[in-house]
């Protein structure tokens, strides 16, 4: 319930539009060009921690070591967790319904969220094996992987 006022509350409309362009850095630049040009996915291994990071990075989160090598990971992966989105809002990247899943690529120790398509929701389960579907016109963007689908 609004408070009663002796005046008519007035609203001022303002908008901010801000663009960004992000340099992908030492590891990210190699990841995106490899994805775009070769459909190959790269992760960053830390030998000291025996971990492979996806998304790739040039510093180990755990031991602060500098990571200079990259290794091919995936393209097959495993669903670690998932959800079915059933509400639509302008902020959503897609119109509902659609499935989000955290996918851990083979050879990587960390997972990332992506879309999971070409599957009935009742059949999705943790541990499900999946493969990426690459975009035909790849631009060097994480959506160069259009979505994952079951094997």
């Amino acid at each position: 319930m609004e408070n009663k006022t002796e005046y008519k509350p007035f609203e001022v409309d303002q908008h901010l539009t801000a663009h960004g362009n992000y340099w992908a850095g030492k590891a990210g630049s190699r990841f995106f060009t490899s994805l775009r040009d070769k459909k190959k996915l790269l992760g960053s291994p830390c030998k000291a921690c025996n971990k492979v990071f996806w998304p790739p990075r040039s510093v180990c989160t755990f031991c602060f070591g500098e990571l200079k090598d990259m290794v091919e990971i995936g393209p097959l992966g495993t669903v670690e967790t998932f959800t079915l989105v059933t509400y639509s809002e302008p902020i959503q990247p897609r119109t509902a319904p659609f499935i989000y899943a955290v996918i851990r690529l083979d050879g990587a120790d960390t997972g990332m969220a992506h879309f999971l398509d070409e599957v009935e929701i009742g059949k999705v389960h943790i541990g499900m094996r999946v493969q990426p579907v690459f975009a035909k016109d790849r631009k060097g963007n994480i959506l160069d992987i259009q979505y994952f689908k079951p094997l």
């Binding site: 001022v12 303002q14 901010l16 539009t17 801000a18 663009h19 960004g20 362009n21 992000y22 340099w23 992908a24 850095g25 030492k26 990210g28 990075r57 040039s58 510093v59 180990c60 989160t61 755990f62 602060f64």
Partner: protein
């Protein structure tokens, strides 16, 4: 302070308009590694990480979270700070408070900005009051143009005086290997540079830089055990003004605006009578030439209306009696989230005698630094070589 706090290490990136070779985490990491190396420490020894940048300048929030691998904050206690242009100094101030409290012994403070990645002009308009100011808001030039306009009208300074500040900054920057604008310019070049908003010309303004700075603060016991040249934080002070309190642009005001209020309180804490004599070097936050002249007056380095005489007489030159911004200052390098921290770090380097080519020739035992946040508030930090200074 409850416990004495020292700066026991620090480092910075090379600052530039383009850093296409690194992402934000990698750029931050360069400064953190430099600071750890300088302090001869490993990241494991750090108790707390304080990270600061200009809010949403790169179009990202929670930079403390997603830069964690670059900052080294993984699994540690941490705080993110955003206070506008002051943020780098606020990070140091907050770090010093944490050490002084006795709760933390070794604190890593980081300030960064990758200005090339975001829509900084658009985001800066968000600083303006959405009801009253935003519809007219541009970036920072207009603010300082009004300041310069008032300064000229009230004190009788000329464009030559601001040009002198422009030249001093860029000539000093040529001695600082990390600085962004290392320009070999003359008074004539400054006066002939493009007019942006009278009386501000292109060379009267700071650049948009990419870069980071990191500093390590420690308690007295750690500092004495681990550092050959600890630099002591002796006093810190902040003060706010209100956005529509126009006094800060009226150079003749006798009201106690933020800069004078903070300086007065800091001087009282330290028992400073004559700041121009008490401090051996100043690193101040001057995004525009006119701001430097006004800082001279607000800091009490001269009387009201005499700031432009100081620059005219060369008193604030690197080899002058009151050296101001031997590093080249914000006019030469403005990676905003790092800029106010760079003032403190550059002052610490002067006290250590490690400033290299831009080391001031006289003995430096005490230094004073300032910051601007939206020009409505300031953070000031006073440093000394020993606890007896």
């Amino acid at each position: 302070m409850k416990r004495n706090v020292a700066i026991i290490g620090g480092g910075q990136t090379y600052h530039a308009a383009r850093r296409h070779d690194v992402d934000q985490a990698e750029m931050v990491n360069e400064a953190v590694r430099a600071a750890l190396k300088d302090a001869r420490m490993t990241i494991d020894e750090i108790d707390l990480v304080i990270l600061g940048n200009m809010e949403f300048f790169e179009g990202v929030h929670l930079t403390d979270c997603w830069l964690v691998h670059g900052s080294g904050a993984y699994g540690k206690q941490g705080v993110k700070i955003t206070t506008g242009g002051t943020v780098g100094a606020t990070a140091v101030c907050a770090g010093a408070h944490h050490v002084a409290s006795g709760l933390f012994d070794k604190v890593l403070c980081i300030g960064f900005e990758k200005q090339e990645e975001g829509d900084t002009g658009a985001i800066l308009s968000g600083v303006a009051n959405p009801l009253w100011g935003r519809s007219m808001a541009g970036a920072a030039v207009g603010y300082f143009a009004m300041m310069g306009s008032s300064y000229i009208a009230n004190w009788g300074a000329t464009e030559e005086h601001s040009a002198m500040v422009a030249v001093k900054a860029r000539q000093n920057a040529r001695k600082n290997k990390y600085a962004h604008l290392k320009l070999d310019i003359t008074i004539e070049d400054a006066l002939n540079s493009r007019m942006l908003a009278w009386p501000i010309r292109m060379l009267d303004m700071c650049p948009a830089s990419n870069g980071a700075c990191a500093m390590i603060l420690a308690d007295e016991k750690t500092a004495k055990a681990r550092s050959k040249k600890p630099v002591w934080i002796r006093a810190m002070e902040t003060a706010h003004n209100e956005q529509f309190e126009l006094d800060w642009r009226d150079v003749k005001t006798e009201r106690l605006i933020f800069s004078k209020a903070a300086a007065g309180r800091l001087y009282r804490k330290l028992g400073v009578d004559d700041p121009a004599k008490y401090f051996d070097v100043f690193e101040i936050y001057e995004p525009a030439t006119w701001a430097e002249l006004i800082w001279y007056e607000d800091l009490g380095l001269c009387g009201p209306g005499e700031g432009f005489r100081l620059i005219e007489q060369g008193k604030t030159n690197i080899d002058g009696p009151i050296p101001v911004n031997p590093s080249g200052g914000v006019l030469s390098t403005n990676c905003i989230g790092a800029s106010a921290m760079l003032r403190v770090w550059e002052a610490a380097l002067q006290i250590r005698g490690d400033a290299g080519e831009h080391q001031v020739p006289k003995d430096v035992r005490r230094a004073m630094t300032t910051a601007y946040g939206g020009t409505n508030w300031t953070v000031m930090t006073a440093l000394s070589k020993t606890l007896e200074d």
